[in-house]
Structure formats: structure tokens, C-alpha cells
Amino acid sequence: MFYAQLIVNGLVQGLIVGLAALAVTLVFGVARFANAATGDTMTFGAYAALIGHKATGSLVVAGGAAVGATALLSLTVYALVFRKLAGRSVVALLVTSIGVGFLLRSVLGIVFGHNQQLFTVPLVRPIRFNGLIINPFDLQLAAVAAVALVGVFLVLYATPIGRRMRAVADNRELALVSGIRPERVMIALWLLVGAVTGVAGMMLGMKTIVSPELGWEMLLPAFAAAILGGIGSPVGAVLAGLLLGVAQELSTPFVGFTYKLSISFVVLLLVLLVRPRGLFGRLEGVR
């Protein structure tokens, strides 16, 4: 029963990791680099949601603010920074994304200060179900995540721009030859990634405490889940995120609270040892 409770607790955390990993994996699949600014972009989303929530008291407005503002930020960063690095080496993009993350965290720290801030959400009596305690607020968050996931997968698999995005991810050269305009795909990608990151950030902020360092700590779990899921595989990223979230909670009684953060690192190492391309990873064509 105790473990079942931990699994339930881990699921929401896992959804957050899964969303962040989805953002990582989309950028990796289409733009071909590991975006280390993902964590700090989540922080931005959390603050956007916080402002929206404080101004109106509405969680819907908070969500809208997080999605809208983060999508815009993401597009701006692409236009000002990553677009200028097209065709450059992996390390150039990696280092730059670290720089973007630092800059974001710095600006958030200066603007909002380093005081920890909380979402004031009404306390609701937890639901008891067969001895499991479920917080209705968690259910709401899970619903938000589910809506976001459905949205992303609809865009990816049911719209022309999503098809193009996947085509570029599959085979960039072929996609370009067949007349796909990379600029449009990139704009769509960064808007979508920003929206996903914003939702992930908002959820994280609501589950914990909002501070400028909030998102950075999610970066490793997000990377780990993206790799575990097979880089470039959206479904894999979400499943792996859930798995990691649950694994973190389940491990807490054994390794203690601090070390639960390193679970993702250990999982990452183990996966890479056994399958250097991730669990659900496709083989990249080699000629």
C-alpha cells in the first residue's frame, strides 16, 4: 500500500518530467541539439503562470499565461540566438543553450528576487480511494498534462506542419529536397516546444515552490528521460518521464530525499551502458 501511494505521488512528478523530456526530445529530433535552456525556460513558465494567477486568481488564466508567454519567449530565443547557429557544431549549440539558460535565470532572479513564492491554491480535502490518498489538485494537474499531451500529439500527428516537423526529424536532407521550408518548421517547433515547456514549468511551480533555480534541477531528469525514451521519440520521452518520476518516488525510502535527485543520473548511466541509443531508440541510418 505504501508503495502504491508512492507510485501515485510519482505519477504527477513523472508527468512533469515527461513534458520537459518531450520538449527536449522535440528540439533534439528537429533542431538536432540538446537544449540545456529547457530547465530555465520552465522556470520562466512558472513565473508567467504565477503572475497570471496572482492577477486573476484563475488557474486557467495562469495556464494561458504560461503557455503564451513561454511560447513567445521560446520563439524569440530561436530568432535571436539559435537561428544564427544553424549548421554549427553540436558543442556551439550546447554551450549557447547553457548561456541562454544562465541569462534567463539571471533575469528572473533580478526581476523577481530570490524569495521563494508559492501558488496559493485552495486546500481541498484529499480523496481516499481503497486506502490511497489522492489530492484532487494533483488530479487537476494530471488533467492539464493530459490536455497538453493530447494537444502536442495532435499537432505532431494530425496537422500538415506536424507532419513536416516529423519529416525533418526523420531525414533532414530528404525533407528539404522535397520542398519543406525549414524556417516555418522551426518557427512551429519552437512555439510548440515553448508551450510544452511552459505547461511543464507551471505544473512544477504548482507542485513545489517557485524560485529562479526551480527549473535547473529538472534539466537532468528531462535529459535522462529523453535519452531513456530514445532521443527524438515523443511517446518514448513521456513514458520514460513517467517511469523516472515513479522511480524517484519509489527510491526515496531507500536512498533518502537528497539522493532521489541523482536517480535520474544513475538511470541515465545504466541505460546508456546497455543501450547507447536509449530504450525505444531507433537505429540511425548509417551508410
Binding site: R282, L283, G285, V286, R287
Partner: protein, 252 residues
Amino acid sequence: MSLQITDIRKAFGGFQALDGVTLTVGEGQLVGLIGPNGAGKSTLFSVVSGFIEADTGEVRFKGADLGRQSPAARARKGLLRTFQVPREFSHLTVRDNLKAAAPGQTGEGLVGLFLRPGEVARQEVEITAKADEVIAFLRLGPVADLPSGRLSGGQKKLLELGRALMVEPSLILLDEPFAGVNPVLIEELVERIRELNARGIGFLIIEHDLQALTRLVPILHVMDRGRILASGTPGEVLEDPKVREAYLGGAA
């Protein structure tokens, strides 16, 4: 037999890149391998040189099964390869590219480097002399001290061959040595390959320039869709109706 490739199969996802390839190269032989794009020629090279693991099949070199040996281990046995797109060490000079390829250098270990400086210096002289021999042989003298990234495409092909020569090869897999090389340099390369062959080095050559290739090799294999379609002398092979259809017919 120098190289024996038996029933190699390799699939990428649903795509059968190699579908049961069997091929041999005798000691010191010059063998050509042609076929349309996507026939699996480069994949075959990657399997033989150990960069890609085959799904099934066997590669033997000088009688011994190569199994899952690393590319480096195969190269040390004298089985060398070049790449279709040259992979020069672009920030090193041409001479340093060649010197980097020399085997058995004491100064490549940190212990040897600091504890046996005399031996390192002596080897350095030998290696430099050997590199200069290769430079002279391949007529790379004028560019010997340039960073190799600044060479022309043809010169890079020569450099790739030169690096392989530094390793004391007994068989070299050449992947499109004439592609992007100007006609004068092709003549030069053909001559060099003949000379090397006369010294006992075997070659398996992928090439689209049939004119140059057929003058060079007495034996030709044609690949299509992951299989060997035909084998024989260039004359026989090029007259084969199957080949004309799959390869020459398709190209016309």
C-alpha cells in the same frame, strides 16, 4: 585468400542494405566493385572494416575470422579503408596527418613520452622520413605543410590513401578514390595504385568512374540491392544483360 566475405546480411529498420553478399579478394589482387547508388557498396565496406556489425555472415582476413573485432584491430592486421567523403584531420598539416597514422609510436603513451624522450625523438625522425617518402610518392610535396583542411578534394583523396600506406597495409578498401578528382590526377592515382599493387598490396575499389576502374582492375563485381549481381572480367561483366539493365540501363 586475403579477404573472404561470406553471406553478409544487414538490415536498417525494414531496409535490407546487404542481402547475402559473398565475395573474395585474393592475395595482392586488384578488385573492383560497382553498382548503382544505394546498392550497399559502402555499407559492405563498413561491415568489412568493422564500423558496422552485420546481422549474419562472416568476414575472414588472411584466413582468420574477424568476428566482432574493432575497426582499429582490423587496421592493425593490415586491412585498411578510406572513406567516400575524405576524413582528413583538418587542423593537422598533411605531414602530420601521415605521421599520426604511423603505428607503434612510443610517444603515443604518456609514460613513454616523458620517460623515454630519446626513443620518441628517434622514432619521430624515422616516421618523418617515412611520411616524406609517402609525400614524394603521392606528389604531395607542395602542400605538405598546409593544414589538410585546405586541400582540394582530389588531394584529400590522395592523403587518405597516403595515411593508409603509413600503416603497412596488405589490403586497402578504397571508397570512390576518383570521385571529384580531376582527370590528370586520376591518371596519377591509377599509376600509383598500380605501383602499390606491384609491391604486393591488394585493393578492393568502389568506383563510379568505369573508364578509369576497368583499366585498373582485372576482376569486377557488380552489386545491386544488397546482392552481388555479376562477377568476372570487366568485359564479361559489362556485357551481362542483368548488369546492363540494373546498372547501365538504369543510368542511361
